[in-house]
Protein backbone atom coordinates (compact mmCIF):
# COMPACT_ATOMS: atom_id res chain seq x y z
CA UNK A 1 0.00 0.00 0.00
CA UNK A 2 3.03 2.27 0.30
CA UNK A 3 4.13 4.23 -2.72
CA UNK A 4 7.39 2.52 -3.54
CA UNK A 5 9.77 5.14 -4.92
CA UNK A 6 7.79 8.20 -5.90
CA UNK A 7 10.41 10.42 -4.43
CA UNK A 8 12.07 10.46 -1.06
CA UNK A 9 10.03 13.44 -0.01
CA UNK A 10 6.75 11.62 -0.54
CA UNK A 11 7.93 8.61 1.38
CA UNK A 12 9.07 10.52 4.45
CA UNK A 13 6.01 12.77 4.37
CA UNK A 14 3.72 9.77 4.31
CA UNK A 15 5.56 8.01 7.11
CA UNK A 16 5.72 11.02 9.38
CA UNK A 17 2.25 12.27 8.52
CA UNK A 18 0.76 8.88 9.21
CA UNK A 19 2.58 8.63 12.49
CA UNK A 20 1.33 11.99 13.69
CA UNK A 21 -2.19 12.01 12.25
CA UNK A 22 -2.84 8.48 13.37
CA UNK A 23 -2.22 9.64 16.89
CA UNK A 24 1.03 7.86 17.62
CA UNK A 25 2.68 11.10 18.64
CA UNK A 26 1.27 12.86 21.69
CA UNK A 27 0.66 16.58 21.23
CA UNK A 28 3.56 18.61 22.47
CA UNK A 29 6.12 16.04 21.49
CA UNK A 30 9.18 17.70 20.07
CA UNK A 31 11.05 16.34 17.07
CA UNK A 32 14.40 17.55 15.78
CA UNK A 33 15.18 17.79 12.10
CA UNK A 34 18.61 16.24 12.47
CA UNK A 35 17.11 13.38 14.38
CA UNK A 36 14.50 12.80 11.71
CA UNK A 37 17.06 13.04 8.95
CA UNK A 38 19.07 10.33 10.62
CA UNK A 39 16.04 8.21 11.35
CA UNK A 40 14.79 8.20 7.77
CA UNK A 41 18.29 8.22 6.33
CA UNK A 42 17.72 11.30 4.22
CA UNK A 43 19.26 14.74 4.11
CA UNK A 44 18.09 17.55 6.31
CA UNK A 45 16.81 19.27 3.15
CA UNK A 46 14.21 16.60 2.60
CA UNK A 47 13.16 16.63 6.22
CA UNK A 48 12.78 20.38 6.19
CA UNK A 49 10.48 20.24 3.16
CA UNK A 50 8.40 17.58 4.84
CA UNK A 51 8.17 19.61 8.03
CA UNK A 52 7.07 22.63 6.05
CA UNK A 53 4.24 20.66 4.49
CA UNK A 54 3.22 19.20 7.83
CA UNK A 55 3.30 22.71 9.19
CA UNK A 56 0.99 23.93 6.44
CA UNK A 57 -1.44 21.23 7.52
CA UNK A 58 -1.12 22.54 11.07
CA UNK A 59 -0.01 19.13 12.24
CA UNK A 60 3.21 20.52 13.67
CA UNK A 61 4.78 23.83 14.50
CA UNK A 62 8.41 24.59 13.92
CA UNK A 63 10.20 27.05 16.16
CA UNK A 64 13.82 28.06 16.43
CA UNK A 65 15.85 26.74 19.28
CA UNK A 66 12.98 24.47 20.19
CA UNK A 67 12.27 22.06 17.37
CA UNK A 68 9.23 20.69 15.61
CA UNK A 69 6.32 20.41 18.03
CA UNK A 70 3.31 18.20 17.39
CA UNK A 71 0.16 20.28 17.63
CA UNK A 72 -3.03 19.15 19.36
CA UNK A 73 -5.71 17.55 17.22
CA UNK A 74 -8.05 20.51 17.42
CA UNK A 75 -5.68 22.58 15.33
CA UNK A 76 -5.18 20.18 12.44
CA UNK A 77 -6.51 20.91 8.97
CA UNK A 78 -8.85 17.97 9.12
CA UNK A 79 -10.37 18.74 5.73
CA UNK A 80 -7.15 17.98 3.94
CA UNK A 81 -7.82 14.67 2.14
CA UNK A 82 -4.32 13.59 2.95
CA UNK A 83 -4.87 14.15 6.65
CA UNK A 84 -8.17 12.29 6.46
CA UNK A 85 -6.49 9.32 4.83
CA UNK A 86 -3.80 9.25 7.49
CA UNK A 87 -6.31 9.50 10.30
CA UNK A 88 -8.55 6.83 8.89
CA UNK A 89 -5.58 4.51 8.96
CA UNK A 90 -5.01 5.22 12.62
CA UNK A 91 -6.45 4.20 15.90
CA UNK A 92 -9.38 6.59 16.25
CA UNK A 93 -10.86 5.58 12.94
CA UNK A 94 -14.32 4.99 14.44
CA UNK A 95 -14.58 8.49 15.87
CA UNK A 96 -13.24 9.95 12.66
CA UNK A 97 -15.61 7.95 10.51
CA UNK A 98 -18.51 9.07 12.65
CA UNK A 99 -17.76 12.77 12.55
CA UNK A 100 -17.21 12.60 8.82
CA UNK A 101 -20.49 10.82 8.34
CA UNK A 102 -22.30 13.45 10.38
CA UNK A 103 -20.73 16.06 8.14
CA UNK A 104 -21.97 14.16 5.12
CA UNK A 105 -25.45 13.99 6.62
CA UNK A 106 -25.46 17.78 6.81
CA UNK A 107 -23.98 18.56 3.44
CA UNK A 108 -25.10 15.89 1.02
CA UNK A 109 -28.86 16.40 1.38
CA UNK A 110 -28.52 20.07 0.54
CA UNK A 111 -26.16 19.23 -2.31
CA UNK A 112 -28.60 16.66 -3.65
CA UNK A 113 -31.39 19.22 -3.56
CA UNK A 114 -29.29 21.61 -5.60
CA UNK A 115 -28.27 18.81 -7.94
CA UNK A 116 -31.91 18.07 -8.68
CA UNK A 117 -32.23 21.64 -9.91
CA UNK A 118 -28.96 21.98 -11.76
CA UNK A 119 -27.92 18.54 -13.01
CA UNK A 120 -27.27 18.28 -16.74
CA UNK A 121 -28.58 15.44 -18.87
CA UNK A 122 -25.12 13.85 -18.92
CA UNK A 123 -24.90 13.99 -15.13
CA UNK A 124 -28.33 12.39 -14.79
CA UNK A 125 -27.35 9.64 -17.18
CA UNK A 126 -24.08 9.04 -15.36
CA UNK A 127 -25.92 8.98 -12.06
CA UNK A 128 -28.38 6.36 -13.28
CA UNK A 129 -25.51 4.31 -14.64
CA UNK A 130 -23.76 4.40 -11.28
CA UNK A 131 -26.94 3.40 -9.47
CA UNK A 132 -27.34 0.46 -11.81
CA UNK A 133 -23.73 -0.44 -11.25
CA UNK A 134 -24.34 -0.45 -7.52
CA UNK A 135 -27.30 -2.76 -7.97
CA UNK A 136 -25.25 -5.08 -10.13
CA UNK A 137 -22.42 -5.32 -7.60
CA UNK A 138 -24.56 -5.37 -4.48
CA UNK A 139 -24.43 -9.13 -4.12
CA UNK A 140 -21.70 -11.70 -4.16
CA UNK A 141 -18.65 -10.20 -2.50
CA UNK A 142 -18.04 -7.52 -5.09
CA UNK A 143 -17.25 -4.88 -2.53
CA UNK A 144 -14.55 -3.23 -4.63
CA UNK A 145 -16.82 -2.80 -7.60
CA UNK A 146 -19.62 -1.55 -5.40
CA UNK A 147 -17.30 0.94 -3.73
CA UNK A 148 -16.20 2.31 -7.09
CA UNK A 149 -19.76 2.96 -8.18
CA UNK A 150 -20.72 4.35 -4.78
CA UNK A 151 -17.89 6.86 -4.85
CA UNK A 152 -18.67 7.89 -8.41
CA UNK A 153 -22.34 8.29 -7.53
CA UNK A 154 -21.78 10.66 -4.64
CA UNK A 155 -19.12 12.54 -6.54
CA UNK A 156 -21.55 13.21 -9.37
CA UNK A 157 -24.23 14.46 -6.99
CA UNK A 158 -21.78 16.80 -5.29
CA UNK A 159 -20.47 18.07 -8.62
CA UNK A 160 -23.97 18.51 -10.03
CA UNK A 161 -24.87 20.74 -7.09
CA UNK A 162 -22.98 23.45 -8.90
CA UNK A 163 -21.35 24.58 -5.68
CA UNK A 164 -17.60 24.44 -5.62
CA UNK A 165 -17.29 23.73 -1.91
CA UNK A 166 -19.68 20.82 -2.17
CA UNK A 167 -17.93 19.51 -5.24
CA UNK A 168 -14.58 19.51 -3.48
CA UNK A 169 -16.06 17.41 -0.71
CA UNK A 170 -16.12 14.58 -3.23
CA UNK A 171 -12.61 13.61 -2.22
CA UNK A 172 -13.56 13.56 1.43
CA UNK A 173 -16.57 11.37 0.78
CA UNK A 174 -14.43 9.08 -1.33
CA UNK A 175 -12.00 8.70 1.54
CA UNK A 176 -14.83 7.93 3.93
CA UNK A 177 -16.41 5.31 1.71
CA UNK A 178 -13.06 3.73 0.92
CA UNK A 179 -12.11 3.85 4.57
CA UNK A 180 -15.21 2.12 5.78
CA UNK A 181 -14.94 -0.52 3.08
CA UNK A 182 -11.28 -1.28 3.55
CA UNK A 183 -10.80 -0.89 7.26
CA UNK A 184 -14.05 -2.21 8.56
CA UNK A 185 -14.88 -5.83 8.48
CA UNK A 186 -17.81 -6.19 6.14
CA UNK A 187 -18.51 -9.87 5.72
CA UNK A 188 -21.87 -9.34 4.18
CA UNK A 189 -22.97 -7.45 1.10
CA UNK A 190 -24.05 -3.80 1.25
CA UNK A 191 -27.38 -2.91 2.81
CA UNK A 192 -30.08 -3.55 0.17
CA UNK A 193 -32.10 -0.63 1.48
CA UNK A 194 -29.21 1.73 0.76
CA UNK A 195 -28.94 0.44 -2.78
CA UNK A 196 -32.63 1.07 -3.38
CA UNK A 197 -32.33 4.56 -1.96
CA UNK A 198 -29.52 5.36 -4.37
CA UNK A 199 -31.63 4.22 -7.32
CA UNK A 200 -34.54 6.33 -6.17
CA UNK A 201 -32.22 9.30 -5.58
CA UNK A 202 -30.98 9.07 -9.16
CA UNK A 203 -34.61 9.15 -10.28
CA UNK A 204 -35.44 12.13 -8.10
CA UNK A 205 -32.49 14.10 -9.44
CA UNK A 206 -33.43 13.24 -13.02
CA UNK A 207 -36.98 14.41 -12.42
CA UNK A 208 -35.80 17.63 -10.80
CA UNK A 209 -37.49 16.72 -7.52
CA UNK A 210 -35.33 18.72 -5.13
CA UNK A 211 -37.35 17.94 -2.03
CA UNK A 212 -37.36 14.24 -2.79
CA UNK A 213 -33.65 14.21 -3.52
CA UNK A 214 -32.93 15.94 -0.24
CA UNK A 215 -35.15 13.56 1.71
CA UNK A 216 -33.70 10.45 0.11
CA UNK A 217 -30.15 11.60 0.74
CA UNK A 218 -31.02 12.20 4.37
CA UNK A 219 -32.28 8.65 4.57
CA UNK A 220 -29.06 7.35 3.08
CA UNK A 221 -27.10 9.33 5.65
CA UNK A 222 -29.22 8.09 8.53
CA UNK A 223 -28.67 4.56 7.32
CA UNK A 224 -24.92 5.10 7.18
CA UNK A 225 -24.91 6.51 10.70
CA UNK A 226 -26.96 3.62 11.98
CA UNK A 227 -24.60 1.19 10.31
CA UNK A 228 -21.74 2.87 12.15
CA UNK A 229 -23.56 2.54 15.44
CA UNK A 230 -23.89 -1.16 14.87
CA UNK A 231 -20.36 -1.85 13.68
CA UNK A 232 -18.34 0.56 15.81
CA UNK A 233 -17.81 1.00 19.56
Amino acid sequence: MTTPAQGLHTHVLDALGLEIAAGDCPPGLVLRTDELAQRFDVSRTVVREVVRVLESMHLVESRRRVGVTVRPTEEWNVYDPQVIRWRLAGSDRPRQLRSLTVLRSAVEPVAAGLAARHATAEQCAALTECALGMVATSRGQQLEGYLRHDIAFHRIVLNASGNEMFARLGDVVAEVLAGRTHHQVMFEDPDPAAVTLHVRLAEAVREGDAGGAERLTKEIAVGALHELDVLAP
Copy 2:
Protein backbone atom coordinates in the same frame (compact mmCIF):
# COMPACT_ATOMS: atom_id res chain seq x y z
CA MET B 1 -1.36 43.71 6.15
CA THR B 2 1.73 41.81 5.09
CA THR B 3 3.70 39.89 7.67
CA PRO B 4 6.85 42.00 8.00
CA ALA B 5 9.72 39.64 8.58
CA GLN B 6 8.35 36.41 9.95
CA GLY B 7 10.74 34.40 7.86
CA LEU B 8 11.60 34.49 4.20
CA HIS B 9 9.63 31.33 3.62
CA THR B 10 6.41 32.87 4.90
CA HIS B 11 6.85 35.95 2.79
CA VAL B 12 7.43 34.11 -0.48
CA LEU B 13 4.69 31.62 0.26
CA ASP B 14 2.20 34.36 0.85
CA ALA B 15 3.17 36.28 -2.25
CA LEU B 16 3.11 33.26 -4.54
CA GLY B 17 0.05 31.70 -2.95
CA LEU B 18 -1.86 34.91 -3.24
CA GLU B 19 -0.86 35.31 -6.84
CA ILE B 20 -2.02 31.84 -7.76
CA ALA B 21 -5.10 31.49 -5.57
CA ALA B 22 -6.35 34.94 -6.47
CA GLY B 23 -6.43 33.80 -10.05
CA ASP B 24 -3.58 35.87 -11.47
CA CYS B 25 -1.89 32.80 -12.88
CA PRO B 26 -3.80 30.89 -15.54
CA PRO B 27 -3.93 27.13 -15.00
CA GLY B 28 -1.21 25.37 -16.89
CA LEU B 29 1.25 28.20 -16.46
CA VAL B 30 4.71 26.87 -15.80
CA LEU B 31 7.07 28.39 -13.28
CA ARG B 32 10.71 27.54 -12.79
CA THR B 33 12.31 27.34 -9.38
CA ASP B 34 15.43 29.21 -10.46
CA GLU B 35 13.30 31.90 -11.96
CA LEU B 36 11.30 32.27 -8.77
CA ALA B 37 14.44 32.30 -6.65
CA GLN B 38 15.75 35.18 -8.72
CA ARG B 39 12.45 37.01 -8.73
CA PHE B 40 12.04 36.94 -4.95
CA ASP B 41 15.75 37.25 -4.32
CA VAL B 42 15.96 34.15 -2.16
CA SER B 43 17.80 30.88 -2.46
CA ARG B 44 16.40 27.92 -4.35
CA THR B 45 16.10 26.16 -0.99
CA VAL B 46 13.41 28.57 0.15
CA VAL B 47 11.59 28.41 -3.15
CA ARG B 48 11.57 24.65 -3.05
CA GLU B 49 9.99 24.61 0.39
CA VAL B 50 7.36 27.06 -0.76
CA VAL B 51 6.61 24.97 -3.83
CA ARG B 52 6.26 21.88 -1.69
CA VAL B 53 3.66 23.60 0.48
CA LEU B 54 1.80 24.92 -2.55
CA GLU B 55 1.90 21.41 -3.93
CA SER B 56 0.38 20.00 -0.76
CA MET B 57 -2.48 22.44 -1.24
CA HIS B 58 -2.83 21.13 -4.79
CA LEU B 59 -2.32 24.63 -6.14
CA VAL B 60 0.61 23.54 -8.25
CA GLU B 61 2.25 20.39 -9.44
CA SER B 62 5.98 19.96 -9.73
CA ARG B 63 7.37 17.64 -12.38
CA ARG B 64 10.90 16.92 -13.47
CA ARG B 65 12.11 18.40 -16.69
CA VAL B 66 8.91 20.46 -16.84
CA GLY B 67 8.72 22.82 -13.92
CA VAL B 68 6.04 23.89 -11.50
CA THR B 69 2.65 23.91 -13.19
CA VAL B 70 -0.34 25.81 -11.87
CA ARG B 71 -3.26 23.42 -11.44
CA PRO B 72 -6.85 24.23 -12.40
CA THR B 73 -9.12 25.59 -9.70
CA GLU B 74 -11.15 22.40 -9.43
CA GLU B 75 -8.17 20.60 -7.95
CA TRP B 76 -7.28 23.06 -5.21
CA ASN B 77 -7.73 22.23 -1.53
CA VAL B 78 -10.35 24.91 -1.12
CA TYR B 79 -10.97 24.03 2.53
CA ASP B 80 -7.53 25.15 3.56
CA PRO B 81 -8.08 28.39 5.50
CA GLN B 82 -4.95 29.80 3.95
CA VAL B 83 -6.27 29.16 0.45
CA ILE B 84 -9.61 30.68 1.39
CA ARG B 85 -7.90 33.81 2.64
CA TRP B 86 -5.89 34.12 -0.56
CA ARG B 87 -8.93 33.59 -2.73
CA LEU B 88 -11.04 36.07 -0.82
CA ALA B 89 -8.39 38.67 -1.55
CA GLY B 90 -8.60 37.94 -5.26
CA SER B 91 -10.86 38.77 -8.12
CA ASP B 92 -13.52 36.11 -7.80
CA ARG B 93 -14.32 36.99 -4.22
CA PRO B 94 -18.07 37.24 -4.90
CA ARG B 95 -18.30 33.71 -6.30
CA GLN B 96 -16.15 32.42 -3.47
CA LEU B 97 -18.16 34.20 -0.82
CA ARG B 98 -21.36 32.80 -2.26
CA SER B 99 -20.25 29.17 -2.39
CA LEU B 100 -18.89 29.44 1.14
CA THR B 101 -22.12 30.90 2.37
CA VAL B 102 -24.09 28.09 0.75
CA LEU B 103 -21.82 25.67 2.54
CA ARG B 104 -22.52 27.47 5.81
CA SER B 105 -26.24 27.28 5.14
CA ALA B 106 -25.95 23.52 4.91
CA VAL B 107 -23.67 22.92 7.84
CA GLU B 108 -24.47 25.50 10.48
CA PRO B 109 -28.14 24.63 10.99
CA VAL B 110 -27.27 21.02 11.68
CA ALA B 111 -24.42 22.10 13.92
CA ALA B 112 -26.73 24.44 15.82
CA GLY B 113 -29.22 21.63 16.34
CA LEU B 114 -26.48 19.47 17.81
CA ALA B 115 -25.23 22.37 19.88
CA ALA B 116 -28.65 22.77 21.46
CA ARG B 117 -28.35 19.21 22.69
CA HIS B 118 -24.72 19.18 23.73
CA ALA B 119 -23.75 22.70 24.76
CA THR B 120 -22.28 23.06 28.24
CA ALA B 121 -23.32 25.77 30.64
CA GLU B 122 -20.12 27.66 29.93
CA GLN B 123 -20.75 27.55 26.22
CA CYS B 124 -24.29 28.80 26.69
CA ALA B 125 -23.05 31.67 28.80
CA ALA B 126 -20.35 32.57 26.30
CA LEU B 127 -22.90 32.42 23.52
CA THR B 128 -25.23 34.82 25.28
CA GLU B 129 -22.35 37.12 25.99
CA CYS B 130 -21.40 37.18 22.31
CA ALA B 131 -24.98 37.85 21.29
CA LEU B 132 -25.11 40.77 23.69
CA GLY B 133 -21.82 41.99 22.33
CA MET B 134 -23.26 41.90 18.84
CA VAL B 135 -26.23 43.94 20.00
CA ALA B 136 -23.97 46.47 21.66
CA THR B 137 -21.83 46.94 18.55
CA SER B 138 -24.62 46.76 16.00
CA ARG B 139 -24.92 50.53 15.65
CA GLY B 140 -22.52 53.35 15.13
CA GLN B 141 -19.76 52.12 12.80
CA GLN B 142 -18.36 49.54 15.15
CA LEU B 143 -17.92 46.94 12.42
CA GLU B 144 -14.68 45.56 13.82
CA GLY B 145 -16.14 44.94 17.23
CA TYR B 146 -19.26 43.43 15.71
CA LEU B 147 -17.17 41.16 13.54
CA ARG B 148 -15.21 39.91 16.52
CA HIS B 149 -18.36 38.95 18.39
CA ASP B 150 -19.95 37.46 15.29
CA ILE B 151 -16.96 35.22 14.67
CA ALA B 152 -16.81 34.16 18.29
CA PHE B 153 -20.53 33.40 18.29
CA HIS B 154 -20.42 31.08 15.31
CA ARG B 155 -17.25 29.46 16.53
CA ILE B 156 -18.90 28.61 19.83
CA VAL B 157 -21.91 27.09 18.12
CA LEU B 158 -19.72 24.97 15.86
CA ASN B 159 -17.59 23.86 18.79
CA ALA B 160 -20.60 23.10 20.94
CA SER B 161 -21.96 20.77 18.26
CA GLY B 162 -19.47 18.26 19.57
CA ASN B 163 -18.51 17.27 16.04
CA GLU B 164 -14.90 17.77 15.14
CA MET B 165 -15.51 18.47 11.46
CA PHE B 166 -18.04 21.14 12.29
CA ALA B 167 -15.77 22.65 14.89
CA ARG B 168 -12.93 22.95 12.42
CA LEU B 169 -15.17 24.91 10.08
CA GLY B 170 -14.90 27.71 12.61
CA ASP B 171 -11.81 28.98 10.82
CA VAL B 172 -13.58 28.89 7.49
CA VAL B 173 -16.55 30.81 8.83
CA ALA B 174 -14.21 33.31 10.43
CA GLU B 175 -12.53 33.89 7.08
CA VAL B 176 -15.89 34.36 5.41
CA LEU B 177 -17.14 36.85 7.97
CA ALA B 178 -13.87 38.74 7.99
CA GLY B 179 -13.77 38.67 4.20
CA ARG B 180 -17.21 40.09 3.78
CA THR B 181 -16.59 42.77 6.38
CA HIS B 182 -13.21 43.87 5.09
CA HIS B 183 -13.55 43.50 1.36
CA GLN B 184 -17.14 44.47 0.89
CA VAL B 185 -18.26 48.00 1.20
CA MET B 186 -20.58 48.11 4.15
CA PHE B 187 -21.55 51.71 4.72
CA GLU B 188 -24.38 50.88 7.02
CA ASP B 189 -24.55 48.92 10.24
CA PRO B 190 -25.29 45.19 10.30
CA ASP B 191 -28.79 43.99 9.51
CA PRO B 192 -30.86 44.38 12.72
CA ALA B 193 -32.86 41.27 11.85
CA ALA B 194 -29.66 39.22 11.87
CA VAL B 195 -28.73 40.57 15.28
CA THR B 196 -32.11 39.59 16.67
CA LEU B 197 -31.82 36.14 15.18
CA HIS B 198 -28.49 35.61 16.89
CA VAL B 199 -29.96 36.58 20.24
CA ARG B 200 -32.85 34.19 19.76
CA LEU B 201 -30.47 31.46 18.62
CA ALA B 202 -28.47 31.83 21.82
CA GLU B 203 -31.70 31.41 23.75
CA ALA B 204 -32.76 28.36 21.78
CA VAL B 205 -29.42 26.68 22.38
CA ARG B 206 -29.58 27.47 26.08
CA GLU B 207 -33.05 25.97 26.28
CA GLY B 208 -31.99 22.87 24.41
CA ASP B 209 -34.43 23.57 21.61
CA ALA B 210 -32.70 21.76 18.77
CA GLY B 211 -35.44 22.33 16.22
CA GLY B 212 -35.63 26.01 17.00
CA ALA B 213 -31.87 26.42 16.86
CA GLU B 214 -31.75 24.72 13.49
CA ARG B 215 -34.55 26.86 12.11
CA LEU B 216 -33.08 30.11 13.40
CA THR B 217 -29.69 29.29 11.96
CA LYS B 218 -31.30 28.58 8.60
CA GLU B 219 -32.88 32.00 8.75
CA ILE B 220 -29.54 33.60 9.48
CA ALA B 221 -28.04 31.79 6.52
CA VAL B 222 -30.88 32.79 4.22
CA GLY B 223 -30.38 36.38 5.29
CA ALA B 224 -26.67 36.17 4.58
CA LEU B 225 -27.33 34.74 1.14
CA HIS B 226 -29.88 37.42 0.40
CA GLU B 227 -27.44 40.08 1.49
CA LEU B 228 -24.92 38.68 -0.96
CA ASP B 229 -27.48 38.78 -3.75
CA VAL B 230 -28.01 42.45 -3.06
CA LEU B 231 -24.38 43.46 -2.69
CA ALA B 232 -22.67 41.21 -5.26
CA PRO B 233 -22.93 40.90 -9.05
